[in-house]
């Protein structure tokens, strides 16, 4: 990242080679269009390139920051598309604020992979997971989620809060293997999250 901040293309190439597939997967999941996802990824890496000097190592990983940028750009592009505006017609959008950077949990992060994270997500009550995913992947506000799901706004807020806190606990448990699966187990074939589950709160 220091190389990138110093304007060295080689540094950007290294970051791209390491994270491009994850960035593209997230952009594609949000936009569902390859062309738009490519634009988002290009725009995100360029944003990272231009703002590398703002990166604070103690506030989170480069990957976390990049994914936050990708998500921000992808959701923004979808919102603008809904409003009839295309990427590039707008002024430069600010990058995600530092406070949205991930808490890196260094002792945990290294033991998490996609399947373990899906396992942790799958353990959430479905209404909590839906509230989080509608906000994270679809960019809906709490009010829009309430309208879409028919749940009261206060309930949506509560589901988000409980869901995020539960997910944090689940991630730690999954990483520790204390969820009963063991530290090396996998949720085989878990390419999508189940749509059924306990209701949890209400």
């Amino acid at each position: 990242m220091r190389q990138v901040a110093a304007g060295e293309i080689g540094g950007l190439e290294s970051l791209y080679d390491r994270y491009h597939a994850m960035a593209y997967a997230l952009a594609l999941r949000i936009t569902t269009e390859t062309g738009l996802a490519e634009d988002v990824v290009q725009d995100s890496f360029l944003g990272l390139w231009r703002n590398a000097g703002r990166y604070a190592e103690d506030k989170g990983s480069v990957k976390g920051w990049l994914l936050a940028i990708v998500r921000h750009r992808a959701i923004d592009s979808m919102r603008r598309r809904r409003n009839g505006v295309t990427i590039g017609d707008e002024t430069e959008e600010p990058l995600p604020a530092a406070l949205t950077l991930p808490d890196i949990w260094p002792e945990v992060a290294g033991r998490l992979d996609a399947q373990r994270i899906r396992l942790a997500l799958a353990k959430l009550p479905v209404v909590q997971r839906d509230a989080i995913e509608l906000a994270y992947f679809d960019g809906l506000t709490q009010r829009e989620i309430a309208t879409r799901t028919g749940a009261p706004l206060g309930t949506v807020k509560s589901r988000m809060r409980l869901g995020l806190l539960s997910l944090r606990r689940e991630l730690i448990d999954v990483a520790d293997g204390s969820d009963g699966t063991g530290p090396t187990s996998r949720a085989a074939g878990a390419s999508t999250l189940p749509r059924t589950g306990p209701e949890g709160e209400g």
Partner: protein
């Protein structure tokens, strides 16, 4: 709207997910800008967001995307270099997309070439020009670098890095817009002498090599070419040769730089959720 710490605690889940209404988002940001409390709830909840993204299986993007990202970064780097050359002179705002589109609209409808030695100065060349006090030309360097950058940001734009052939000098970027407009910007070229020109040749989808246009290069080593109405294709291979004159009908001189703009994109997978 000033809010208290308790209110931030209440709004924290929606804030970290970006799911608050605009007014609430702004209120939280305003509070955090002045509050001395650590607000650990934001880090606790925000910390899981990166892992939600990690729940996805990686997807390999089309290979041309890497070239596009690097070409955009290089263009940005050249724009920054030009700014350093003459900050007072090149400080004006970057070219807007509206201007880029206007330029595109008014260009000739046939393949258009433009002699570059007289008009294009970018990157390192800009430094030498500034030393000479030629701020107008340094300004042009900024203008052209910005043009490349903004072309690359046009939705659907595809780009390629043009790299030197073995033992040759020069490099550059090429951008293809969905409208069929192509912009080629080169630097580090050896100056042309006498009737010599740099000729741009292209081949769509591996087909017949076509002559696109030519330019000459002065001591600054920069050159550019613009083309319109390039037929749609999945790939556009570009080759810049140094030719003895501008009348050649097929490549005769050495290839200096080459690159391929990949247009083809893989179909979108079926949504998994």
């Amino acid at each position: 709207m000033a809010i208290a710490c308790d209110r931030v605690l209440d709004l924290a889940p929606g804030f970290v997910l970006g799911a608050l209404d605009a007014a609430d988002m702004a209120a939280v940001r305003e509070h955090l800008g002045t509050c001395t409390e650590p607000h650990p709830e934001l880090r606790e909840m925000g910390g899981v967001l990166a892992y939600i993204g990690d729940s996805l299986d990686p997807v390999e993007p089309p290979r041309h995307l890497r070239d596009a990202v690097m070409a955009a970064a290089q263009a940005d780097l050249r724009a920054r270099s030009a700014e350093k050359v003459a900050p007072a002179a090149v400080a004006p705002a970057p070219i807007s997309l509206a201007r880029v589109r206007a330029l595109r609209t008014h260009r000739a409808t046939v393949w258009l070439t433009r002699a570059a030695a007289a008009v294009v100065i970018v990157g390192l060349g800009g430094y030498a020009l500034a030393v000479q006090g030629d701020l107008a030309r340094a300004h042009q360097a900024q203008d052209h670098a910005n043009t490349v950058l903004h072309y690359m940001q046009v939705p659907g734009a595809r780009s390629a890095v043009l790299t030197p052939e073995l033992g040759r000098q020069g490099a550059g970027d090429a951008v293809l817009l969905p409208s069929g407009h192509v912009y080629v910007l080169l630097h580090g070229l050896e100056p042309t002498k006498g009737d010599e020109v740099y000729m741009v040749w292209s081949s769509a989808d591996g087909g017949t090599i076509a002559r696109d246009g030519w330019f000459t290069v002065d001591d600054q080593g920069e050159g550019s070419l613009e083309m319109d109405n390039v037929p749609p294709s999945d790939s556009l291979w570009l080759m810049v040769c140094r030719e003895p004159n501008s009348n050649v009908e097929k490549p005769t001189g050495p290839a200096i730089v080459t690159g391929t703009i990949w247009v083809y994109s893989v179909p979108a997978p079926t949504p998994t959720d």
